[in-house]
Symmetry: C2
């Protein structure tokens, strides 16, 4: 088992040019700023039909939209509408919708520019930042995709008004993950009584992700830190087949890596509980199946898993050759 | 109608680092050199089954393999075989096979490294060089794809031994296209009596393409020069639905742009005829349909086509707002 230090105790110090802009405010105004008069095609989740105008293409939201068939249909629709390489594709929706739309933009005509307008806390702090786009295969999540940096990400908090409690909790988990990499953020989060309170720190979390991503756009090293809690999280989400949302599964995954020797594990995990998040592997889980799923994760190899472990003082280490069973102890 | 000079009379002078290696020789030895002990998965066209060993995945060749369904099946097979991000995907076959395999490599786990082993003259001088990968949609060719540079391209001429005459001709067309951009190459080609003779200059043609591609990997400007003859060519190939091979369609497309004012048009077109290639739009073609297809080409926009025209002395110009009808005059 080898390990390398990923994030030094002081956090990410290096500031390279950001791979894309992070804007907040009225989305339609910011979109004009980003597209600078170029034509665009707006693709939006159906539930926002009344907010986006009659020209928008509407798609379903949620993980079930991320299929190869939906990709093919969306790309055909874009081409039929007269899309050219000079157009910008705009994706407005939650993380699943922007994953699909971003992948369509990455592959139509071998790639056109795009802009993400995330409509959930989770998408604003995680899915839309950093250019990861993908659809799912029967074998697992996000197995077919591309790194395709958007021109920019526009966060308009008016879309959050109607979010159900579960969505606030899902977003809070990713903000919490960022806190494990940035001490001042975690200090602030430890004072938040609810997941909705934590969402006030969404921009700080998105900024941390952009810092990491701009230092490592292709996920060659540093960016692995953002995978904190996701190895077990993805396996649980997959096995749960709808019983756990992404954020809940990652909360359990984060708790699992914290329990592997983090000195403030109890206090940190308690905060997730207070926000209403699960922190233990559910009763229904099949341990053998989870191990199998984790071994098939794209971060695994023949020698075992590649897992990120959080350390005291907000550093973290990347551990190679990790036995997946240890995450279930 | 605006035009900009693409390639100056002296040819491409700028030499940036090549985006990938171009190797010739025994493919299996060169593959060891490129992969440097990393594990790899070999995907080969079925007709080479006896040459590639029992571990290879076999796929069909030809344009009909470039479908979204084949992509999904191939990626699933790679993942089921235990592929990790550290592996290299190796694609051995003609241009259609390497287009599909390269796109699978570009999208599985959001991109893994790959190596192309082109087995036709056409693939060696064109399809495998420069990182273009794609599958087709019902709406047209190569509409879904990615730019994904291979680690290297390995040309092993032993695969050419069994090529039918049509394949030699197809390869010769792309070598001829390169000749329109490099005077010394065209001088040599004008002395070639047959398409097979022209294939002796395949490496020079591949090198020209690499020079252009390395100066413009994302096809933002200069690389458009490589599109010489392809606007009409693609439309003819699509409308022909099998009646014309890619090389034949491009030969007609090249003849069409030469006829638009090139001083040596007659002499150059005559050379294509001598090699057994068609140089006139066939009787069966539907002009209105061709215009419609050209307008839908990814290089077109509302103002007309973006077409590359060859000039005397091996320069060429990119013309914007071109009326597609002029290619059919």
């Amino acid at each position: 088992m080898n390990s390398i230090q990923l994030v030094p105790p002081g956090g990410v110090q290096e500031h390279r040019p950001w791979p894309h802009e992070l804007l907040s405010g009225v989305w339609s105004e910011q979109l004009e700023h980003l597209t600078k008069g170029r034509g665009y095609r707006l693709i939006a989740e159906r539930r926002f039909a009344s907010l986006v105008g009659a020209d928008a293409f509407l798609i379903d939201g949620g993980e079930q939209v991320k299929t190869v068939a939906q990709l093919e249909a969306l790309v055909a629709q874009l081409i039929e509408s007269g899309l050219t390489r000079d157009h910008v594709v705009v994706g407005l929706g939650g993380g699943a919708a922007t994953d699909l739309i971003g992948f369509a933009a990455a592959t139509v005509f071998r790639g056109v520019d795009w802009v993400a307008v995330p409509t959930t806390v989770l998408a604003a702090v995680d899915a839309s930042i950093g250019g990861k786009t993908a659809v799912n295969l029967a074998l697992g999540k996000n197995l077919l995709g591309a790194f395709h940096q958007p021109l920019g990400v526009i966060v308009d908090r008016k879309f959050w008004d109607s979010l159900p409690p579960l969505e606030w909790r899902s977003g809070a988990v990713e903000i919490f993950k960022s806190g494990l990499l940035r001490p001042e953020l975690m200090s602030a989060l430890m004072a938040c009584e609810t997941a909705q309170d934590a969402s006030e720190h969404a921009v700080a979390a998105a900024q941390l992700k952009l810092d990491v991503v701009s230092a490592d756009p292709q996920e060659k090293g540093l960016r692995a830190a953002l995978n904190l809690g996701h190895t077990l999280g993805h396996a649980l989400e997959s096995q749960g087949a709808g019983r756990l949302r992404h954020g809940e599964a990652v909360a359990i995954g984060l708790s699992a890596v914290l329990r592997i020797g983090h000195p403030q594990a109890d206090e940190l995990i308690e905060r997730l509980n207070r926000w209403g998040l699960p922190t233990r592997v559910p009763e229904w889980a099949d341990f053998e199946g989870l191990v199998h799923l984790m071994r098939r994760d794209k971060k695994s190899n023949a020698q075992g898993l590649r897992v990120v472990l959080p350390q005291a003082s907000s550093s973290c280490v990347l551990v190679e050759g990790f036995e997946p069973e240890r995450l279930l102890a």
